[in-house]
C-alpha cells in the first residue's frame, strides 16, 4: 500500500528502435489514412460527428424558420419532408451515436483501463472509414434527382417502398445506414474485447470507471440491436428492388413488421446514445465535487438493468398501431424509470456535501441532469397507452425526445470540456464555455417547453404548414427563438475552439481527476502510459494524489485522515 509507483510496463520487445521507427513513419494525410491509434481515430470520429451536428443543426434551423408562420412558403412541402427526415437521420445516425461510442469511448476507454490501445486497432480504423463514407452516402441524397430521403428518420413501410418513395435518395439512405451500421457493430466488438481482455493489473471489473461500465453495456446493446436494423434495411431494399413483399400487403407481407424490426433496434439505440453520456456525467459530477461516485455498485446494476429492459420495450413506439400487447410494453417501459431514478439519486448523492466546482463541464452536467429529468418524466407519460394515444405523433413526443437528446448534447459538451484537454493537451476557455452553456441550456428549454404545449393542443408532428390552426403560431415562434439560441451556443463553441487553439496547456491533471486517464500526460503518449500507478480502487489517480483520503473498498473514507484538511468551523 505504500509505494504506488511501479516500473513501466514494457509492451514492445525493443524500446529504443521502436521510437526511431515511429519518427520515420508516414506523415500528413497518409499518416491519417493509415493510422490505427485509437486516439487519432477517436478524434477523427469526434470532429466528423461535430460537423454532422452542425449540418443537422442547419436543417433544424430551416425547419424552425418554416414553422414560424402557419402558411409559410420558405420551403415546399416536399423539401420540408426531406428536411425533417435528414435532420433526424443526421443527428441520430450520424452525430450522437458515433460521437459517443466512436469518439469519446474510443479515446477514453482504453486509457481508463490502462490499455495501450483498443483490442483490434485496424478494425477500429475500418469503423471510422465506414462511418465517414456512410455519412457521405446518406447526405449525398440531396444531390440526386428526387432529393434526399423524405419518409422520416424511421422510414416506415409502406411509405418507404418503391411505389411511395421512388428515387435514389431513399436508396442512398439505406446504403449509408448499412455502412454506419457495420461501423457501429465493429466498434461494439472492439469495446467488449478491449474491456474484457486489456485491463491493467489490479483493474478488476468492479474497479472500472462508471464511464467504462456504461460503454460496456452500450457495446453489448450495439451488438444486440444493430444487426437487427441491418437485416431490416436489407429486407426493405429487397422490397424496393427485388420484388419481394416482406412489408407490403399486396404480396402477403406485413407492413407493421418493419416497425417491429426497426424499433427493436430503435429503442436500444436511444439507450446506446444515452448511456455513454450518463457515464460522462457520472465522472464529471464526482471529480468536480471532490467525492467518489455515490453508490458505485448500484450504478453498475442500474446500467445493466436499463440494458436488459431496453430490449423488451420497443413496441411502446407502436402503441397506436392497435396490434401490440399493450400491458406488457407498458409495464416494462414504466419499470425502466426505476434504474434511471436510482442513477439520478446517486448523482445527487455524489454532489451532496461535496466541494462543488462549477466549471463549464460541471455546469453542462448539471444542465444535463435538469433537462434529462424533464425528458425522463414526460417519457413516463408516454409509457401509459391511454396517455400515449393522444400524444403520439404530436409535438408532445417531439418535445419529449428533444429534451432527452438536448440533455445528451449537454453531456456531449461536458465530455468535450472535461476530456478535451486530455486528448488535445489544451484547455478550452472557461468564460466562452459558460456563455455557451447558458445559451445552450436556456435555448433548449425555450425551444422544447412550447412544443409540449403545442402537442397538448393538438399539433401533429412532421407537418410543414398548419393553415387551420393559426393560434399555434405564437408558440411556434417562441420555439424558434429557442432554436436560434441553441444555434448561437454552437457558434460560441466553435469560437471557443478557435480562440483557445493551443493557448492553455492543460498538464496531466487539470481537474484533479480520479480515474486512470488523469495519471498520464496530456495528450497521452503512443500506447498511452509511460508509467502506471498501483490500482486498488476505482479511483487510482485520486488514491495516488490523495493517499489520506482514499475511500475504502467499502464504506466511508478514513475518518482520521479526512478531517485533517477540513477548515475548523
Amino acid at each position: 500500500m505504500t509505494d504506488v509507483l511501479d516500473p513501466p510496463i514494457i509492451e514492445e520487445p525493443s524500446g529504443h528502435e521502436e521510437h526511431l521507427e515511429e519518427h520515420l513513419g508516414p506523415t500528413g494525410i497518409v499518416k491519417w489514412i493509415t493510422t490505427t491509434d485509437h486516439k487519432v481515430i477517436g478524434l477523427s470520429y469526434t470532429v466528423t460527428a461535430v460537423i454532422m451536428m452542425v449540418i443537422g443543426g442547419v436543417f433544424a434551423e430551416i425547419i424552425r424558420a418554416q414553422l414560424t408562420s402557419p402558411n409559410n412558403t420558405l420551403v415546399s412541402l416536399a423539401q420540408y419532408n426531406e428536411l425533417f427526415t435528414m435532420h433526424g437521420s443526421t443527428m441520430i445516425y450520424l452525430f450522437i451515436g458515433p460521437f459517443a461510442f466512436g469518439g469519446l469511448a474510443n479515446i477514453i476507454v482504453p486509457i481508463q483501463i490502462g490499455a495501450p490501445d483498443m483490442a483490434f486497432p485496424r478494425l477500429n480504423a475500418l469503423s471510422y472509414w465506414l462511418y465517414l463514407m456512410g455519412s457521405i452516402t446518406m447526405l449525398s441524397g440531396f444531390f440526386v434527382a428526387g432529393g434526399a430521403a423524405n419518409f422520416g428518420w424511421v422510414g416506415y413501410a409502406p411509405l418507404s417502398n418503391s411505389i411511395n418513395s421512388p428515387g435514389a435518395g431513399a436508396d442512398l439512405w439505406i446504403a449509408g445506414l448499412l455502412l454506419t451500421g457495420f461501423s457501429a457493430i465493429f466498434t461494439g466488438v472492439n469495446l467488449v474485447a478491449t474491456i474484457f481482455y486489456l485491463r491493467a493489473p489490479g483493474m478488476t471489473m468492479f474497479r472500472m470507471p462508471i464511464f467504462t461500465w456504461n460503454m460496456l453495456v452500450t457495446a453489448i446493446l450495439i451488438l444486440l440491436a444493430f444487426p437487427v436494423l441491418t437485416a431490416g434495411l436489407i429486407m426493405l431494399y429487397c422490397d424496393r428492388h427485388f420484388g419481394t413483399h416482406i412489408y407490403s400487403v399486396a404480396g402477403g407481407g406485413v407492413p407493421v413488421l418493419w416497425q417491429h424490426v426497426f424499433w427493436f433496434w430503435g429503442h436500444p439505440e436511444v439507450y446506446i446514445i444515452a448511456l455513454p453520456f450518463f457515464g460522462v456525467v457520472t465522472e464529471i459530477l464526482a471529480v468536480f465535487s471532490k467525492k467518489p461516485v455515490f453508490g458505485y455498485k448500484g450504478m453498475v446494476f442500474a446500467t445493466m438493468t436499463i440494458g436488459a429492459l431496453s430490449l423488451g420495450v420497443w413496441a411502446h413506439h407502436m402503441f397506436t398501431t392497435g396490434v401490440v400487447l399493450l400491458p406488457f410494453f407498458s409495464i416494462m417501459s414504466l419499470l425502466i424509470a426505476v434504474p434511471t431514478g436510482i442513477k439520478f439519486f446517486n448523482w445527487i448523492g455524489t454532489m451532496w456535501r461535496g466541494e462543488v466546482w462549477l466549471s463549464t463541464a460541471m455546469l453542462m452536467s448539471i444542465g444535463f441532469l435538469i433537462t434529462f429529468l424533464l425528458g425522463g418524466l414526460t417519457g413516463i407519460y408516454l409509457a401509459s397507452p391511454p396517455l400515449d394515444f393522444f400524444t403520439h405523433d404530436t409535438y408532445f413526443v417531439v418535445a419529449h425526445f428533444h429534451s432527452i437528446v438536448m440533455a445528451l448534447m449537454l453531456g456531449a459538451m461536458a465530455g468535450l470540456y472535461y476530456w478535451g484537454p486530455k486528448f488535445t493537451g489544451y484547455l478550452l476557455n472557461e468564460k466562452y464555455g459558460k456563455i455557451q452553456f447558458w445559451f445552450l441550456f436556456i435555448g433548449t428549454q425555450v425551444f422544447t417547453l412550447p412544443q409540449y404545449l403545442l402537442g397538448l393542443r393538438g399539433m401533429p408532428r412532421r407537418i410543414g404548414v398548419y393553415p387551420l390552426h393559426p393560434s399555434w403560431q405564437y408558440l411556434n415562434q417562441i420555439s424558434t427563438v429557442g432554436a436560434v439560441l441553441v444555434g448561437i451556443s454552437t457558434v460560441v463553441f466553435i469560437a471557443n475552439v478557435a480562440v483557445s487553439w493551443k493557448k492553455y496547456p492543460a498538464g496531466d491533471n487539470p481537474w484533479d481527476g480520479h480515474t486512470l486517464e488523469w495519471f498520464t500526460t496530456s495528450p497521452p503518449p503512443h500506447h498511452n502510459f509511460y508509467r502506471l500507478p498501483q490500482i486498488r480502487s476505482e479511483r487510482p489517480t485520486w488514491d495516488y494524489n490523495h493517499p489520506g483520503h482514499r475511500a475504502a473498498e467499502h464504506g466511508h473514507g478514513h475518518d482520521a485522515d479526512s478531517h485533517e484538511e477540513v477548515p475548523a468551523p
Partner: protein
C-alpha cells in the same frame, strides 16, 4: 460523527435548513389551497367522449405525481449544486454508499410505477372495449384524405386534403369505428377525443367512441404519409340522435339521385383531386 456546526444565532445548521425547506414547501401548498383545491389541467382537456374524460383524469394523476417527484428531485439537484459550492481547498468526507437510502430509492419508485400501471390498466381497458352497438362507421384513410362509409345505409362521405370531410355521429351512443388504410399508414387523430389510432393497410383497427357533447371537432392525420400529410384534415360532427337519423336519410336520398351519374363515371378512385398528386416544388 462530528457535532453539527452552530451558526452565530446558536441554532444548528440542520435546523436552519429544515426551517428553510418548510418555508419553501409552504408556497405550493398555499397556492393549491387558494386555488380552491381544483386540480390543474396540466395542459390537457376533458374532451368530448367518455374515454377522453377518463384519459384526462389519468393525465392529471400522472402530472401530480410528476410534479411531486420532479419537483423534489429538481430541488435536490439545485440544492446540491448551490449549497455545496466550494469554499476552501478542503477535501470533503468521501462517502461512497448508504444501503438503506439506496434501498429506499429503489423500492419507492417500483411502488410508484406499479401504481401508475394499475391506473393505466383501468383506463386502457375502458378505451379498448368494444361494446355491441348499432352505429358503425367505416373510416378509410388514403393519400391524402378520408372516406367515411356508413354500412347498411349506403352513405359515403369523402374528402381530400383541405376539403376536410366531415364524419357525422350521434351523441350519447357507442359508435363502433372500423379503421383501415388503402395505401400507407395514416393516423386518425381527434384532439377533442384525446385519442388516435393508426390506419394500417391490410389491418382492420376497431375502437368505440361515445361522445357526450355535441359539437364539431377537428381531426388530422398524425402519421407521415407522403407529400400532403400536413393537409390531411377532417372534422367530426357530433349531433343529437334525431339529427343523426335525419342526416343519414338525407344523405341516402342524395346518393340515390346521383347513383346513375356515378355509374357512368366509374373510376378506380371515386374522388377527383383538387391538387395534383405527388407534385414537386411547392403546394
Amino acid at each position: 460523527m462530528e457535532p453539527p456546526a452552530l451558526s452565530p444565532q446558536g441554532v444548528s445548521d440542520r435546523t436552519r435548513r429544515w426551517r428553510r425547506v418548510r418555508r419553501i414547501a409552504a408556497l405550493p401548498i398555499a397556492a393549491l389551497a387558494l386555488a380552491g383545491c381544483k386540480v390543474p389541467t396540466f395542459g390537457a382537456a376533458p374532451g368530448a367522449t367518455t374515454s377522453s374524460q377518463s384519459v384526462y383524469h389519468l393525465w392529471q394523476g400522472f402530472s401530480i405525481g410528476a410534479v411531486i417527484v420532479g419537483g423534489f428531485t429538481l430541488i435536490l439537484i439545485l440544492w446540491s449544486a448551490m449549497a455545496y459550492r466550494r469554499k476552501g481547498e478542503g477535501i470533503p468526507k468521501q462517502s461512497q454508499y448508504h444501503i438503506p437510502l439506496e434501498m429506499t430509492y429503489t423500492i419507492v419508485p417500483v411502488l410508484i410505477v406499479l401504481g401508475l400501471f394499475a391506473a393505466t390498466l383501468v383506463v386502457e381497458n375502458k378505451e379498448v372495449a368494444l361494446p355491441k352497438t348499432d352505429v358503425t362507421i367505416n373510416v378509410n384513410a388514403f393519400q391524402w384524405g378520408w372516406k367515411f362509409t356508413y354500412p347498411g345505409h349506403d352513405v359515403v362521405v369523402v374528402g381530400q386534403t383541405t376539403q376536410d370531410p366531415e364524419m357525422v355521429m350521434p351523441v350519447n351512443e357507442n359508435v363502433h369505428i372500423n379503421l383501415t388504410s388503402s395505401d400507407v399508414i395514416h393516423g386518425f387523430y381527434v384532439h377533442a377525443f384525446n385519442f388516435s389510432r393508426y390506419a394500417l393497410p391490410g389491418v382492420l383497427n376497431q375502437f368505440t367512441l361515445r361522445a357526450v357533447n355535441t359539437g364539431t371537432y377537428n381531426g388530422q392525420c398524425t402519421q407521415l404519409c407522403g407529400l400532403y400529410h400536413s393537409l390531411m384534415v377532417f372534422r367530426v360532427k357530433v349531433v343529437s340522435q334525431s339529427d343523426y337519423t335525419a342526416w343519414l336519410s338525407s344523405q341516402a336520398n342524395a346518393a340515390n339521385a346521383s347513383a346513375a351519374e356515378k355509374a357512368t363515371n366509374q373510376q378506380t378512385s371515386s374522388i377527383t383531386p383538387t391538387k395534383p398528386a405527388k407534385s414537386k416544388g411547392g403546394y
